[in-house]
């Protein structure tokens, strides 16, 4: 028993030792380190934020595209609110009493002790009036922040819009954003958010248990100043951007212009678009709702997301591959009787071009010529199915080099890529028995080939550069150090010998500059423009009018792609619109008329918007610079039917790609 009695000490000792462990750990967290004390201060020591000015976005000539305007939020700390003259406050911020009570209740639910936004985005006038009387409203304070202002109201989809952060953003950026903060959601605002936003300044203010501020914590040792965001010089030229938007008013389509030598995007028009100032501040929610419901989809970024068959505009690329494969030379002639026999089908050509060589074929956009050279390419090594399919694989790999079938990796969000078929895809579709006649429509940019307007413009940049491109990008310089990502200086070669480009460019030159060409409407005085039209038939409405080109021929400064949905022939709208933009960019002036006698104003005025079902087409709107969204808003759609109409018409105006092409 004696021995067992000693066990008393073991157990008592255990108690004491374990208690000492607890005391040791307590000593650490309470006395030895102030880590937890500082943590606690994020509750009791409250941070107040100073919002930095967001970086300004400039165009390539340092003209301001997006700047800031001050705005004020009214904050409330429910716990500090005491009875006061609520009516005068309501009057000042223009709300009624029930709204006031509801807002106060919501703020109280969020937190009684932390301040939260009571009324967002007060105007400067309201702020001034409020500031005078603020001391009468205990518990209320005003916080300054900035919102965007767009002096020219251009390039909405390019710049993007900002919006209050959601939970996903808050989680993603690990604590930088607090509810109520704004973040770039699309466009440059999104892709360069981390440069533009700057750094919030923080002031640490100590509060006691009665929630009375005790002043700056630790003499401001932990406080920081706000750091303004970096300014960004974009690659856009606001002159041609604006012109492009005006020309595309009341039309569905897009314009993309690239500087070939740098890959910089010069114009980025998506129509119908919207006035960027409409997605700012208190207007955001109603307008955003309206835009999303709008059947013409003003928020759809057509240059990056639009799916279009290139149609005849694909022919220069087709010719380049044929030349590099050696199946034709520039002087090879093919007889065009006005049709082409593919297997047991007779495909008709627009015109009888008779003996056609490459230059003539391109300038006349002769389908027979391109069907023939495509067939030659695929049967180059023999006409067995396997040989043809192997040849197709070579062909489609060369097409891929030009950036088709994948995204180009532009520094804007939501770029789309469309599938380019590989041999196995066709085998899946047709079985083993397919050859050149099966997929002959690829020769003229139809069938299983789709591109974005950006990709089309980039193809032009490649041809203008005689064989390479630089990744298209929208930012020229970031911040004061004028930084730019080195990946935009890297040349991407398409592995086609430079000598093959000249004959193709000859053809494109003739398309514009000879009277028999298909793109005469894009001729510019004293400047050698090279281009190619496309007329994409689709099964709703008129053909899409397409033009791609570059100018001048030597040392090109601009490559451009224009797509006007339901615009008819490529020469009808796309070609002249491209020429106006090119001319403006190169000479900073405009000849009043194109070769067909039409004026700039006529093109601006024409309305090609597809008719909405149950709604008769309106007469063309005369005011060219009236915002597109505005004109849509005015359409007297019965509110109740909106949904049904929209659903229907979204389909109606989507580009159809299974169309055949002509010309």
């Amino acid at each position: 028993m004696d021995q067992l009695f000693n066990r008393k000490y073991i157990i008592q000792g255990l108690f004491v030792v374990l208690a000492l462990i607890l005391i040791g750990k307590l000593f650490y967290i309470q006395v030895a380190t102030d880590k937890y004390f500082l943590n606690a201060n994020s509750n009791a020591l409250r941070k107040s934020y100073v919002f930095p000015a967001r970086g300004v976005i400039l165009d390539r000539n340092n003209k301001i595209l997006a700047q800031n305007q001050p705005t004020y939020d009214l904050l409330v700390t429910p716990k500090l609110v005491q009875p006061f003259d609520t009516i005068s406050l309501c009057k000042l911020i223009d709300i009624d009493m029930p709204t006031f009570r509801e807002k106060l209740r919501k703020a109280t639910v969020r937190s009684r002790f932390q301040s939260s936004i009571f009324q967002k985005l007060l105007s400067v006038q309201t702020y001034a009036a409020l500031q005078e009387k603020l001391s009468n409203f205990p518990g209320f304070e005003v916080q300054k922040r900035t919102i965007r202002y767009y002096p020219d109201s251009v390039a909405a989809q390019f710049l993007g819009f900002m919006r209050e952060v959601n939970q996903v953003d808050i989680d993603k950026y690990e604590g930088y954003y607090k509810p109520g903060d704004y973040i770039g959601k699309t466009g440059i605002e999104k892709s360069y958010e981390e440069y533009l936003r700057g750094t919030k300044g923080v002031r640490h203010i100590l509060y006691n248990a009665k929630n009375v501020a005790q002043g700056s914590y630790d003499d401001g040792r932990l406080d920081s100043l706000s750091i303004a965001g970096d300014n960004i010089v974009s690659t856009i030229d606001s002159r041609i951007q604006k012109l492009g938007e005006e020309l595309l008013a009341n039309k569905v389509g897009s314009v993309v212009a690239i500087e070939p030598s740098t890959g910089e995007i010069l114009a980025f028009v998506s129509s119908p678009g919207y006035d960027p100032n409409k997605l700012v501040g208190n207007n955001f929610s109603p307008n955003y709702r309206q835009f999303t419901a709008n059947p013409y989809r003003p928020l759809f970024i057509r240059p990056l997301q639009g799916k279009y068959s290139p149609g005849s505009a694909f022919k220069p690329l087709d010719a380049l591959i044929a030349l590099s494969e050696g199946v034709v030379n520039p002087n090879t002639t093919i007889f065009c009787p006005g049709y082409y026999i593919a297997g047991n089908r007779k495909l008709s050509c627009e015109h009888r071009d008779l003996n056609t060589n490459l230059r003539w074929g391109l300038s006349r956009s002769c389908n027979t010529y391109f069907w023939s050279i495509f067939a030659k390419m695929l049967t180059k090594n023999g006409s067995s199915r396997a040989k043809q399919q192997a040849a197709y694989d070579v062909w489609q790999n060369k097409v891929r080099k030009f950036g088709i079938g994948d995204t180009l990796g532009i520094d804007l969000p939501s770029e789309k890529a469309f599938k380019l078929y590989r041999p196995k895809d066709y085998t899946q579709m047709y079985g083993k028995r397919w050859g050149n006649t099966t997929i002959i429509s690829l020769a003229i940019g139809q069938g299983e080939i789709s591109t974005t307007p950006l990709q089309m413009a980039n193809i032009m940049a490649i041809i203008a550069n005689r064989g390479y491109y630089l990744k298209p990008h929208v930012v020229k310089a970031i911040g004061d150090e004028k930084k730019i990502d080195p990946k935009y200086k890297q040349k991407h070669f398409v592995d086609i010998d430079a000598k093959h480009f000249e004959p193709v460019i000859d053809g494109m030159q003739d398309a514009v500059n000879t009277n028999t060409g298909t793109a005469t409407e894009s001729r510019i005085r004293n400047i050698l423009m090279c281009g190619k039209t496309g007329t994409v038939q689709n099964n709703r409405g008129k053909n899409h009018s397409v033009f791609i080109g570059f100018a001048p021929r030597d040392n090109p400064k601009i490559a451009i792609a224009v797509i006007i949905e339901n615009g008819g022939y490529g020469g009808a709208y796309a070609a002249p619109i491209a020429s106006f933009i090119t001319e403006k960019y190169l000479t900073d002036s405009l000849e009043p008329r194109r070769i067909n006698g039409a004026t700039l104003q006529q093109y601006k005025d024409d309305n090609l918007l597809p008719a909405l079902k149950m709604d008769k087409p309106k007469k063309p709107l005369s005011k060219a610079d009236s915002t597109k969204a505005d004109s849509l808003k005015k359409r007297p759609l019965p509110a109740k039917q909106n949904v049904a109409i929209n659903k229907f018409n979204k389909e109606a105006i989507l580009p159809k790609n299974n169309a055949a092409a002509k010309q």
Binding site: K25, L26, I29, K35, A40, N43, A44, A209
Partner: protein, 420 residues
């Protein structure tokens, strides 16, 4: 002598009662602080949690002193009955229990809620004391050890079914009274060693573990290098430990169900859960850390008001102590507990009746186990196991069961001169 022992307060250990009252009052003060709101008028309201706690303390005292009226023999004689009743309640709660926070641990009687697992503790303590103190039971042979183990394991199993892991683990503290009464020490070592290895096995890579076991074995062999007998047994133990590692791994990975594994991992903190359990710990540590040396002062805590810490007045009451009273306050509270428990053990050792002694140890160990686990989880030493802090945490069932536990012992002690 017999007459005197029936007198109400005769021989009652007043120091223990004083410590008990002090802890209860500390509990009340801190529960009041968590509820306190400077804006709302400070009328005392019985409907608030501090009001209720005051009622619990009052009724607890009545309950405690009425226990002193019992005949000391009652507890030893009726131990099996009391044990039986608490076991029945544990079964009943599984059938009609109310689900609170995922545990089916409460029996609702009107607006009143009873937690049988709290009462199972003293039921088990009584029967264990009765069995071990019975004639001819020596805890160094297999049969009595198994019987004692069975008395402990039955309530553990029933509580685990609720499932209430925290209350289940509390019953492990009965191991120490058994040890005091002669349970061979190596059994305890083996048990805790196995638990430790099982846990380490989940934390560490197997190679590290095996190497360190081999290293430990080698060190022991080195120090015993002249005694061949020992070398052999150390070698065998080392190999057994390594073998056990593999068995434990297989057991954990293949025999346990997925949800059981998840629960163990959560308890051991192997899976992060910042929004749930992890959140409590961070907030609680923050609050305690904010107290610093002397605390923010009574009612000045900002962390423990405003509901930053969940379960503030129950399982995490210690964070209020830490924030408002600082390290000094925490030190006092822990010292009070240690003082109380050391006193209980000393009192237990002076008993002539081994029933009283075993019961005293049981009580001390249960209370200590609660205190240690509760404070450990509040300051982040141990994973969160939801068990109350004795006498301080808000709640009737827990306060009363600890009161009953303590006062039964005081009654037994006041009768130490007599025979039970």
């Amino acid at each position: 002598m017999q007459q005197q022992s029936n007198k109400f307060f005769f021989n009652v250990d007043w120091i223990t009662i004083l410590l008990y009252v002090a802890l209860c009052l500390i509990g009340f003060i801190n529960i009041y602080a968590t509820e306190f709101n400077p804006d709302i008028s400070t009328d005392f309201r019985l409907s608030s949690s501090y009001g209720k706690q005051l009622i619990f303390i009052g009724t607890g005292l009545v309950l405690g002193f009425s226990i002193l009226l019992f005949d000391a023999k009652f507890f030893s004689v009726f131990a099996p009955v009391i044990y039986g009743v608490t076991m029945v309640l544990l079964v009943v709660v599984l059938v009609i229990g109310r689900d609170v926070g995922g545990n089916q641990a409460w029996i609702a009687i009107g607006s009143f809620r009873l937690q049988p697992s709290e009462f199972a503790k003293f039921g088990t303590a009584l029967l264990l004391a009765r069995y071990i103190s019975s004639f001819n039971v020596k805890l160094n042979s297999l049969k009595p050890i198994l019987i004692a183990a069975a008395i402990i394991v039955l309530p553990m199993t029933l509580i685990m079914l609720q499932p209430d892991a925290g209350s289940t683990l509390v019953f492990l503290s009965f191991m120490f009274p058994l040890y005091r009464e002669g349970l061979p020490g190596y059994l305890l070592l083996i048990f805790w060693g196995m638990v430790l290895l099982f846990v380490l096995n989940l934390y560490l890579a197997p190679t590290i573990l095996i190497v360190s076991i081999l290293l430990l074995g080698a060190i022991f062999i080195y120090f015993n290098r002249k005694r061949q007998q020992k070398i052999i047994s150390i070698g065998i133990i080392t190999l057994l430990a390594i073998g056990y590692l593999f068995i434990a791994k297989v057991l954990f990975d293949h025999v346990l169900q997925k949800h059981q594994r998840a629960r163990i991992e959560l308890i051991l903190g192997l899976t992060k859960d910042n929004k749930g359990v992890g959140y409590n710990v961070i907030q609680s540590q923050t609050a305690i850390g904010a107290g610093q040396l002397t605390g923010r002062g009574f009612l000045q805590g900002t962390q423990t008001k405003f509901k930053f810490v969940p379960a503030q007045s129950t399982d995490f009451i210690f964070s209020t102590v830490g924030e408002e009273w600082g390290f000094a306050g925490c030190f006092v509270v822990i010292s009070l507990y240690v003082f109380l428990l050391l006193r209980v053990i000393n009192i237990a050792e002076r008993q002539r009746s081994s029933f009283s002694r075993v019961y005293g140890y049981c009580m001390a160990c249960i209370i200590f186990f609660h205190v240690f686990i509760n404070i450990s989880m509040a300051i982040g030493i141990m994973p969160v196991i939801g068990i109350p802090l004795p006498f301080i945490s808000y709640g009737g069932s827990s306060l009363w069961s600890f009161t009953v536990l303590l006062f039964i012992f005081l009654k037994l002690d006041s009768n130490r001169m007599g025979f039970i």
